[in-house]
Subunit: 111 residues, 2 copies
DNA sequence: TTGATAGTTAAGTACATGATTAACTATAAA
DNA sequence: TTTATAGTTAATCATGTACTTAACTATCAA
């Protein structure tokens, strides 16, 4: 029942800096420097955030020469999306059944 | 650009105990005691998790007599789902465009 | 080969998080 | 009216997170 990957993905996305990094990467791959440019913090801090994103699997990176290029791995994003949508769907089915029950037991001549 | 609600929702869902609580609530409303029953921790600890879930907006609760009944608020779940699906969709559109570009620039007579 | 660039590691600090036990407050039932 | 139930608050503690600056290592360009 324990899903460490999901733990790490949600935890990674809980930080606004890391969501900003994912938003940037959603537009296409970027280097560490490009990722860091708009962020109001030091490069080592960005590196730590990147490490968290990579540990969760949401982002991958590879180094060529002295440049590390980062990109989104959509699989983990899908896993997160799936978990949330499943719970919401379950809750909404529950609501629908409740509605149907109320309709069925309601005194008639109401719409 | 900063979205505290989203921060709190993702952070709330990053903890396996709280995800377990949401999973339970997806099946229908529950009291604090019912929520706590399967969890390997003290009631005050469960209360703290519940507070985190309520502060994020993912869960609401109301007290009647001495019983507090908790239920999912699907709106915040939708917000989380939307954020994730938008980023994934954006990334995949990007990939598609890249694929189309590669197809267009590829030397011919390849499938 | 000198210097700038891109990234990395280390050490240290401040604050947040997740849990505990003990003690307390209502409400309901016997 | 006693007693059990459901929940709440407070005090405490250990650990984890999010940064900082300083110092370092490669790589590329002039």
């Amino acid at each position: 029942m324990i899903n460490y990957k999901l733990d790490r993905s949600f935890a990674a996305l809980a930080d606004p800096t890391r969501r900003a990094m994912v938003e940037r990467l959603a537009m296409g791959p970027a280097t560490v420097k490009e990722l860091a440019a708009p962020l109001p913090m030091s490069l080592p801090a960005v590196m730590l955030h990147l490490k968290v994103l990579e540990a969760s699997g949401l982002v991958t990176s590879e180094k060529q020469g002295r440049v590390r290029t980062c990109r989104i791995d959509p699989h983990c994003l899908s896993q997160v999306e799936l978990w949330v949508s499943e719970r919401r769907a379950m809750w909404e089915r529950k609501l629908d059944r409740l509605g149907a029950f109320l309709d069925a037991t309601k005194p008639d001549n109401e719409p």
